[in-house]
């Protein structure tokens, strides 16, 4: 299992991307599955920083845990922001509307849930624990 602690700011994203690449390469994940893992992780990290830590907090902490199983890879994000269960977010209502009428945000978690094979959430010990799972084949 790999582990990384980072300040809960957007600039941590480069290290998050490197952490994802490390797991993807050590598990031999295909390029497409690697991209899906990266997309899901980026969207969740951005969401945690933006909404959980009001755009970023250098004294806030984001922990990443990751591992490779025989049939999948997983990456868990742990943060002490306000409780947030991503499973309570519904599909954006405006997906069929023309772009001129769209509001600019609200797509990240939709994309993340679509990219991941499984998202598991639990609130434990005052922490949000969000696990993103990508099947290896």
């Amino acid at each position: 299992m790999k582990r990384l602690r980072l300040p809960a700011v957007l600039d941590s994203l480069d290290q998050v991307v490197a952490f994802v690449a490390d797991i993807a390469h050590s598990s031999g994940l295909s390029g497409t599955r690697h991209r899906r893992l990266r997309l899901a992780v980026e969207e969740f990290v951005t969401n945690i920083v933006t909404h959980g830590f009001n755009g970023g907090a250098v004294d806030g902490e984001l922990e990443l845990l990751g591992g490779v199983e025989p049939d999948c890879v997983w990456l868990m994000l742990v943060d002490r922001g306000p409780p947030f269960d991503p499973n309570t977010i519904s599909r954006p209502a405006d997906l069929d509307m023309p772009l001129v009428q769209r509001r600019p945000g609200g797509l990240g978690l939709f994309l993340a849930r679509n990219a991941a094979d499984q998202i598991v959430y639990e609130h434990s010990g005052g922490c949000n624990c969000t696990t993103i799972v990508i099947n290896r084949r």
Partner: protein, 107 residues
């Protein structure tokens, strides 16, 4: 790998060439180029060359919404040589109704 967005102009066509990985850290670069293109005189088309764009997250999608809203409905937005994964993401969120996919840069 990083990201770059460069703007050029050919008559009434503004061309933004996107290279690398368009994630949340680089969304402002894209947005700034769109803003420059919008402020640089009358155009008929905004062309986004995605030949060397390898990744796009929702941050890039927000840039496309910004582009459409900044340019208005009459300007054609053309996405050139988007990769399968980028095109799939754009279709998934329904943006394909408001842009045109193309295999070549209009001239």
């Amino acid at each position: 790998m990083g990201f770059s967005a460069t703007l050029s102009r050919n008559g009434r066509i503004a061309l933004i060439t996107l290279e690398g990985e368009l994630d949340a850290l680089h969304a402002d670069d894209f947005r700034n180029r769109v803003e420059q293109a919008a402020n640089g005189g009358q155009i008929d088309q905004l062309v986004l060359d995605m030949t060397d764009l390898t990744y796009m997250s929702s941050a890039g999608m927000r840039g496309l919404v910004f582009a459409r809203q900044k340019m208005g409905e009459d300007i054609r937005i053309v996405l050139v040589r988007a990769s399968d994964s980028v095109e799939q993401t754009i279709r998934l969120v329904g943006f394909h109704q408001s842009v045109v996919f193309s295999d070549e840069v209009p001239g």
